[in-house]
Amino acid sequence: MQEFLQQVVSGLATGGIFASLALALVLIYNAMGLVNFAQGEMAMFATFIALVLIDHGLSYWIALPLTLVIAFAGGVVIQRVVIRPVERAPVLTLVIVTLGLATLVNGMAGFLFGYVPRSFPTPFSASTVNILGALASYQDLGVIAVSGVVLVLIYLLLQRTTLGLALRAASHHPDASRLLGIRVSWMLALGWGLASAVGAVSGMLAAPILLLQPNMMQTVIIYAFAAAVLGGIESPLGAVVGGLIVGVTVNLAGAYVPGVGGDLQLAVAFAIIIAVLIVKPNGLFGTASLRRV
């Protein structure tokens, strides 16, 4: 039982990482009906920037918010430069552009930072604390706490501020929003900036565990896809819940199902994606949308 609880806590921690990246995906999906295949690579790149800042002497707790700001700016720039020219193009074009972006960012990271895996500091100690008779590491609890805080902040921003309101309006109803004076194009840029910042959190939480190298997020994004699909691709709440469920499921599968080792856990995520898409394509919290003719 104790071990089971430990696995669950661990699963919640990895789930927090997935949830953050899934939330980034959902933010952009809500903004443009597009899954950003480059989200993981952007997160990885931001994490490298964080490492550069830390290597230059900044403390972790200063580098973190600074990185988020830089990631935000980067997201805005990408939307303005790369996405805006093809905004009205068909889905396939947009998918290809984000794939191109993913390839480009991955290559740039390799070019600038090399392919040797680097260790990434974590502010949480590795020691454990006793909860309900189970041992949980501060690392895991810290990850759960940080991702929790980020998710709550995004929720408050979207649901309780005027800016968040304008962002939601612009995402779902761009034409009507323009007629209300909302600068829709800039709202999209804001959406990308936010998504990029949230993704950066995911990267910075994943790096201590996975070791930072350009291909670090390639598996994480698959888990994030599974989380977003499971939760309902339009639902921020779904992303969070989905992330936690995927994290715990994958962890438990790895611990208790024989034969499911490191790389096959990914196949579990894939199976989740396929199962959800076949059985309940809208996910747990999504709503069915009308087919546009």
Partner: protein, 237 residues
């Protein structure tokens, strides 16, 4: 004295298709002007041209400013509110949120609160359905919502595209009562596109009748109402 809104020789279209072939019209401060005509005459296109939803040639000025190179958002910020065909209700948001978006450009909290109260007085059903998704409203209620939202914007000019479309006569009555009231108390100028010519002429002081992208008849509404030949050929009754 220049009017609040002036159109001169406006040509507009979609791609290769030219819809407006030189429209000239004006709306004065606090006036109600109706824009009438059959389907396809170009009424909606005229409204779209004003708020920058379609490319146009010619001259459009609002309060003396040319609207030539302005984006929709900028035109709205000058004081134009446009309730489009289909009402533009933000169905993904709640009724309350729809109204809040109406106040997006304003910063005077006290006045905004008073406007909300005013709006709920005019349309009590909206207060009842405040927390519900706007998609749960009926057609008439959505029209009320978009009108209410336009009010909260405190515009100088209100463009209304077929507010009576698809609504029951009683609902239409109520809506037009509110429109008249807004115009009288807030001095909001109104450009009203309508297929229901009868009710539009009752409400407006001035009217323009479009036919295939040109102004066929213009004049005081009282005059058009009375002239039988105009009524029969252009307004269908």
């Amino acid at each position: 004295m220049t009017s609040l809104l002036e159109l001169e020789g406006v040509r507009a279209g979609y791609g290769q298709t030219r819809v407006l072939h030189g429209i000239s019209m004006s709306v004065g401060d606090g006036d109600i002007v109706s824009l009438l005509g059959a389907n396809g005459a170009g009424k909606t296109t005229t409204l779209r041209a004003i708020t920058g939803g379609v490319r146009w040639d010619g001259s459009i000025t609002f309060g003396g400013h040319s609207l030539r190179h302005l984006t929709t958002e900028d035109i709205v910020r000058l004081g134009v509110a446009h309730v489009p065909e289909g009402r533009g209700v933000l169905t993904e948001l709640t009724v309350d949120e729809n109204l809040r978006v109406g106040a997006y450009l304003r910063h005077d909290k006290a006045a905004i609160a008073r406007d909300y109260d005013r709006v709920f007085e005019l349309f009590p059903i909206l207060r009842e359905r405040r927390r519900l998704s706007a998609s749960t409203l009926s057609g008439g209620e959505q029209q009320m919502l978009s009108l209410a939202r336009a009010l909260v914007m405190r515009p100088k000019l209100l463009l209304l595209d077929e507010p009576s479309l698809g609504l029951a006569p009683l609902v239409v009555r109520r809506i037009f009562e509110v429109i008249r009231e807004i115009n009288q108390t807030e001095r909001v100028a109104i450009l009203l596109v309508e297929q229901n010519a009868r009710i539009a002429l009752e409400l407006s002081t001035q009217a323009y009748v479009l036919e295939v992208g040109r102004v066929a008849v213009e004049g005081p509404s009282s005059q058009l109402k009375g002239e039988e030949s105009v009524r029969r050929s252009y307004l269908g009754y």
